[in-house]
Amino acid sequence: METKIKKVSNQKMIIDNSLNKFKDRDLFPEKTNMFNEMVNRIGEDKFIKLTGTTKRN
């Protein structure tokens, strides 16, 4: 059976603000941990210097 792949070269994007619901949850807790571990490994001061960022409140 032939499988139809719906692919496009001229990508379209529609706005759907129902996706906002995904922002409120910590969907990737392991990713958050991995990020925090990386900052600890690198050193927070070094990471801030590298990225020019500031810690959020």
Binding site: I5, I15, L19, D26, K31, T32
Partner: protein, 146 residues
């Protein structure tokens, strides 16, 4: 270079993207989320399958839906879309599993020429970041617009 990609749905802030992978195993909903970390303007990229029943996200599953190349290109396209809206942000990218980190490494190596015209990529080693060089085994990546 025109890559085949799936169409996208996004929130108006272009931080959450959804698309459908269509292949031999059916239609699988995929989610890409750029989540701001505890540092201003630094976002963590999360990517996984949406469970249609529970709505939970699985970022370790190997879908094996025969369209890995298109899925990867679509994820890359979300990075472009995200930066269109967040030009001063930086995105941290790492795999949730060793195999996914390897997949990101392959993708960045493959698309590096295309990617590097627009983005500055830093590669994460054990205790520091360095400017990305091809075929180095990085643990993660930090990406920003040039």
């Amino acid at each position: 270079m025109n890559l085949d990609t799936y169409n996208l749905k996004s929130d108006s802030g272009q931080e959450v993207f959804e698309f459908e992978s269509i292949g031999p195993k059916g239609t699988i909903q995929k989610l890409v989320l750029f989540k701001e970390t505890s540092f201003s303007g630094i976002y963590n990229l999360g990517f996984g399958d949406i469970d249609p029943v529970t709505g939970t996200i699985d970022d370790k599953v190997v879908s094996d839906n025969g369209d890995g190349e298109i899925v990867l290109s679509t994820v890359v396209s979300t990075i472009h879309k995200f930066f269109d809206k967040h030009p001063f942000a930086q995105v941290y990218l790492s795999g949730s599993t060793k195999s996914r980190t390897r997949l990101y490494r392959i993708a960045i190596n493959k698309y590096f020429e295309l990617f590097s015209t627009k983005f500055e990529i830093m590669g994460e080693l054990e205790t520091h970041f360095e400017r990305f060089t091809k075929n180095t085994e990085y643990q993660g990546y930090l990406i920003k617009l040039k």
